[in-house]
Symmetry: C2
Subunit: 351 residues, 2 copies
């Protein structure tokens, strides 16, 4: 923090985080990243990474300064970035070089590069070049932003969110003759938001047969505006693909080229196929058996469970066939319409 800056590093990093959040759902296989450039207590530029192939957040922020100020404005400035700047040549030149080229004299970042071979490399490189570096500002939030990217980097598997809509007694079914929806319109709108921040949606053969879901983002105008593509759709069936009706929406609609099938119920194979397609965040919207299989296999990272305010005594549980119980951590409850949304992480150590 320069002495004539009335704001703290945390204040500026929060702005960078807000920038990064604009890219959630759009950037895979890259992480969402935000950057803010500050000089004499004033923000002179900000930017976020919009999608793979486009400039990194640091470059976007630098471009914004160039557009609105003189090049000299950047000399002696501080850049706040949610993630450690890249130091290797990728699709774009390394951001560390961009920082040095423009005379920025201080770099503040939140999360280290999750790749242990790269972590801290930008710090040493910049410090050797005489730039002051501060790390770990708003670290938890910055790490949070790149959870899916980090998991993919470290394990080759995507971040898995299990989404379910159940009654207060844990059932996904309603009696015959009732609406197919347990939850409120507000919750269904929230599911659209979850889909928007996901790269792929998984469902099971049974759900396909029973419900014939579209598994799409409905707001096409928003997709057009942001460049977001429809999520990949992965149908996991225990049998072979021929058991699935070829007239299902996912095989016949205008996004049919974004539908994949995994036979023999092979979860790991399904996830690897999705990672190959560049997917990092995967939403599972399926029946209880497939949900239980993901938990049992230790492949699920997070749950988003919408509870409808009713007790159905139905037949079909939202989570079935678990071999052992699993604990959740950082449970967060949010009222959405008449429903309750539980968001929590699966505690893998409890498996």
């Amino acid at each position: 923090m320069s002495s004539n800056d009335p704001f703290t590093d945390e204040d500026w990093m929060q702005l960078a985080i807000s920038e990064a959040q604009k890219g959630v759902g759009l950037t895979a296989p890259n992480p969402p990243v935000g950057a803010v450039i500050v000089k004499d207590g004033m923000m002179i530029g900000k930017g976020w990474h919009q999608c793979a192939g486009k400039p990194h957040a640091e470059r976007e922020a630098i471009a914004a300064v160039k557009q609105n100020h003189s090049l000299e404005a950047m000399i002696g400035a501080t850049i706040y970035v949610t993630l450690e700047p890249c130091s290797t040549q990728g699709r774009t030149p390394p951001c560390t070089q961009g920082i040095l080229d423009h005379g920025i004299k201080r770099v503040v970042y939140g999360a280290d590069d999750p790749n242990p071979d790269h972590a801290g490399r930008a710090k040493s490189l910049l410090e050797e070049a005489g730039v002051s570096v501060t790390t770990g500002i708003c670290q938890a939030e910055c790490i949070d932003l790149i959870r899916p990217f980090s998991k993919a980097q470290l394990t080759g598997l995507p971040w898995i969110i299990l989404k379910s809509a159940i009654s207060l007694d844990g059932k996904i079914t309603r009696p015959p003759g009732e609406s197919q929806w347990l939850t409120s319109p507000e919750s269904r709108q929230h599911v659209q938001q979850l889909r928007y921040t996901s790269d792929a949606i998984i469902t099971g053969g049974n759900t396909l047969r029973n419900d014939d879901p579209a598994l799409t983002i409905r707001d096409e105008a928003k997709l057009k505006q942001t460049g977001k593509k429809q999520p990949w759709r992965m149908i996991i069936t225990r049998g072979d693909a021929s058991s699935l009706s070829q007239s299902s929406q996912v095989f016949t609609d205008r996004y049919q080229d974004r539908t994949l099938v995994q036979e023999n119920g092979d979860l790991l194979q399904a996830l690897k196929k999705l990672v190959e397609k560049g997917c990092h965040t995967v939403l599972v919207e399926a029946g209880g058996t497939l949900m239980g299989a993901f938990i049992d296999a230790g492949l699920a990272d997070e749950v988003a469970i919408f509870y409808a305010p009713m007790i159905t005594g139905g037949d079909m549980p939202g989570f079935a066939g678990l071999e052992r119980e699993v604990s959740l951590r950082e449970s967060k409850f949010t009222q959405i319409g008449d429903d309750l949304l539980l968001s929590a992480f699966i505690d893998q150590t409890s498996l």
Copy 2:
């Protein structure tokens, strides 16, 4: 509100409600009631009904004024009562008479007498005697306080709260070898509070056989201090009483004379027996089948469901065998320790 009273009727009624709350769990077959007497913007006395046979709240408040002030202090005063004062001779003389005898010139009450034959009778009687009467202040809260009393008055049946502790997937069981408790110590303490405000606890023959629960209030010092008795314990079995182990805690502990048995799974008979014992608020702490039976029979009024932050995939559902789904209204979620408590009313119109 007299012109030199800086507080509103609602302010004073809130005080009366606080008084009434002290009696919740203690007063059946009477309702909990609170009263506050105000003169010239100052409270000069307050009181609450402590148990059947002791003075009504109005009499307690009048006695408090007498103890701390001159008798004249009451002349021209206002009394705030949560419930319409009684106007008929019961175990104690009618409170309307007490009000007139002491020169109180204004009566403000929240809830009408739930007995339609009595409702509004105090109002006319007092107004005829020249007393000003205002009704319906904080009405919803005042009606809420006497829910169990009102239900018993109108239907001859007690107010039934279904208490369950389940996993997020709706199961009451944990895998073998784990602690028998799903929920946190804080939740179990909260259950003690629910028992304290109840007149009886119902469980089923199966729970008795499997868990041998004590179904008691543990804090004996608090019982002694408040005069609260251990709740009645009602064991409902589908077979006959001989199928229950006579060595169970409820048949052998020092409160064994407060244990009742209902054979043939006859819910209605069980509830009538409890009402005969003066019980108005009854907590059901049972397995899924008995819970479901209460809901299906339209006998359940409220749920208190503690959700533990785990997904167990267990065998035993918290609510089982329901013939139709039931909606809940006025859902209230509260974090308790690591658990979530859902309190809600059962919407009988949804059955």
